[in-house]
Amino acid sequence: MAYDVIYKGNKLDEKILKKLLSVVPGGISIKESDRIVYARDYWPITLRWMLDGKIPALPDCIIWPENAQQIVEIVKIACEEKIPIIPYGGGSGVVGSAIPIEGGIVVDMKKMDKVLEIDDSSLMARVQTGINGMNLERHLNRKGYTLGHIPQSLYCSCLGGWLACKAAGQFSTKYGKIEDIVIAMEAVLADGTLIKSKAVPRSSTGPQVEKLLLGSEGTLGIITEATLKIWPYPEKRAMLSFAFDDIARALEAVRKIMRKNVYPAVVRIYDENETLRHFYDVKEAKNKCMLILLMEGCKELVDLEEKVASKVCKNGIPCGEEPVIHWLKTRFNVKESSEFIPKGFIFDTVEVSIAWKNALSLYKAVISAMRKVEGMVIASGHASHFYPQGVCFYFTFGGIPPKGKEAYEFYENAWDAIMEACLKSNGSISHHHGIGIIRAKWLKEEMKERIKMLKKIKRAIDPRNIMNPGKMIK
């Protein structure tokens, strides 16, 4: 091998491979090229490693099950042989959750990608979790529905990843996050037990234990199927945008909209730097902070939301529909990594959540902390998900490692600065990207005593520690 491997720890032998092959004949690969591609997710630092000829970690094999029963058998073999299992969907996670740091079996769910049932009267769809996000949304659109879950990764992520990493979409202020959208799940636990929950709107039958899998990042089991809320495709869309003098005024406007129990589907506030980045053509927004709003649904409701939002935003400069149309057109253009990483830039985005009363101070603290990191060039943010109780800030940092510092050192310094500032401001260290590798060391401080409970749960469900080991909790 002419390339370096950062995390090493492979253990699969011929005997185990044969056992796996008996479960999924022809559905396994040990090819070098496949193992390299499945060596990482979209954790940005791994992009730099790739350019430097480094592989994060090599799985022993990749396996493509076609049904839940095969997964049960695969997990049983892995449990018996104490081989790590790394569930894999779209590989679009950005915190390293899908990197097989101890080697093992990557279970790629892509063959389980069917929409099994659409229940129009109950507005629910039962779907296999290997389905790609855009293919699911297109399927629903063709039938006259929307899921309303439109993350920026829509084109490259899948349902299983959304559930396992507790995703949030761009339209989440109206439709909710994935935990609000999911009704029921089927999953294979670490000992091979297949669990299923009922597709009912609510039940008071003790803790909904299956929901422990939401946000578990593959450390407890593999989610194989989910029943999701769906909505009739919206009749109408209304778009508004306003430029505010500063982020405080923009945040205040949105807080007031939320207090009125009005939920636009898309609400986004950009700080000055990000307004310049995304709306450089909007004259009214020069040196200001842009707020964009998109309301959708039944016509009467949209008209009313538009009226209320316009009234609340009277202190902003109206910029019309155009900035929202521009955002709609460009929201999936992810070019920065491709353009800047080859130039030596180290980039990442970090999303956190915070209650309204501390929102502004957290924003200021994080921006200030990022700027203090030696080598930092870009330190900006926007707010992208809103609640009557608070907000999610989405920060971007980018810089060049100072002389004498390795890329990872600079990268970690930036992350540490953001995490510390967030925790000091009483924020939660992640709103929707998850923990993975990069946030794992901060989870203890985030969870305090609860981490012991999480560890107990992990030990109870996965005593042999085969499910995505080395992630979240060690």
């Binding site: 090229s33 390299i36 493509w64 084109y155 490259c156 999936f332 491709s338």
Partner: protein, 384 residues
Amino acid sequence: MMSKKYAWVMDALSKSPLSTKARAMKHFLSGKKYEVKGTIADIDAVIKCALCPNMCKFDCPVLDAEKNEATSPSGKMRIAYFIEKGLLESRDAFELMYKCCNCDACKQWCPFDFSVGDLLKGIRADIDNKPSEILKIKEELEKEHILGKKNFDMGEKKGNILYFAGCTVLSKQNEIAEAMIKIFSKANEEYALMEEWCCGSPLYNLGFLESFKKFAEHNVKKIKESGCKTVVCSCPTCTYMFKHVYPETGFKIKANVLHSSEYILSLIEEGKINVDFEGSCVYHDPCVLVRKLDVKEEPREILKKIGVALKEVYFNGKDTRCCGNGGQLGITNPSISEKIAKERLEELRSKAEYIITACPSCKTAFEENGGTAFDIAEVVAGIE
């Protein structure tokens, strides 16, 4: 780089400490750290694609058929980068570089306007140890001058409009050539025929650039000798090669090159042919025709004018799905090609039993997988 679009970076940079500013500018200006010298492949583009989160992959027919991340557009480019850097020499890595149907679905979603099929051409050209199956295609082409077994000898003939049938028509879809000849006759057009060699697309796609040139030279010479001002091709790929790739690689064709659907429509509009058709069909847009040549409406116009009750599938026009035969995938990776064809066939059949298309390769893909398909020329000439 310094456009208004990047004002946010320049603004941030201007506020950075001097030492950071100096280092950043040095990186921006030199920026060649990851260059690989002496390659035919466009390494800058390969890197950009490899670094992308794979935002086009949901529409990639090969990934959809294979379900293997390595076959996704960005997956292939990550491996391509390692091959080009000399970090990877495994056979499976080289074979992966041929798992593409060159349909340009990826290009529809790419912020850089990349076509993975186009990027792969350079990478394949850089591979010294090409897989033996790939070398065989070149050897057979160089021997036979057409792809596949020629079983229809059209001969050579003088006339005003030069008809270029293409390899698939000459080997597997003779009836399309017969239909075109019927159309020429009905319209009283004096058609010409030449000694056809393959347009060179397989050689060009698979990375045999020197060999491709010989084929281009032959065809340019023969077209010139025909003296025709118009060339009509049944195959969208031949049309694309003559119109775009030949000039880009230094081979100029002075005649006007048309796809058969464009030519047939002009005959109908000029009143030179008149056809009545009864029945309902679904139209399949060939990838090369609709995406590379931007011919979407012409076939539909023809079908409308002759009275076909046209059905449309959800994935039509530039949103079309590949038939599986694009980019020589039917030869290099037949099992993937078959899966793609079956998937598309299922969608088309949900609308109508009879499929009309405008590409001999698409027609072949559907027929070989149990479908009933016709080229638009056959419909106009009268299906027998």
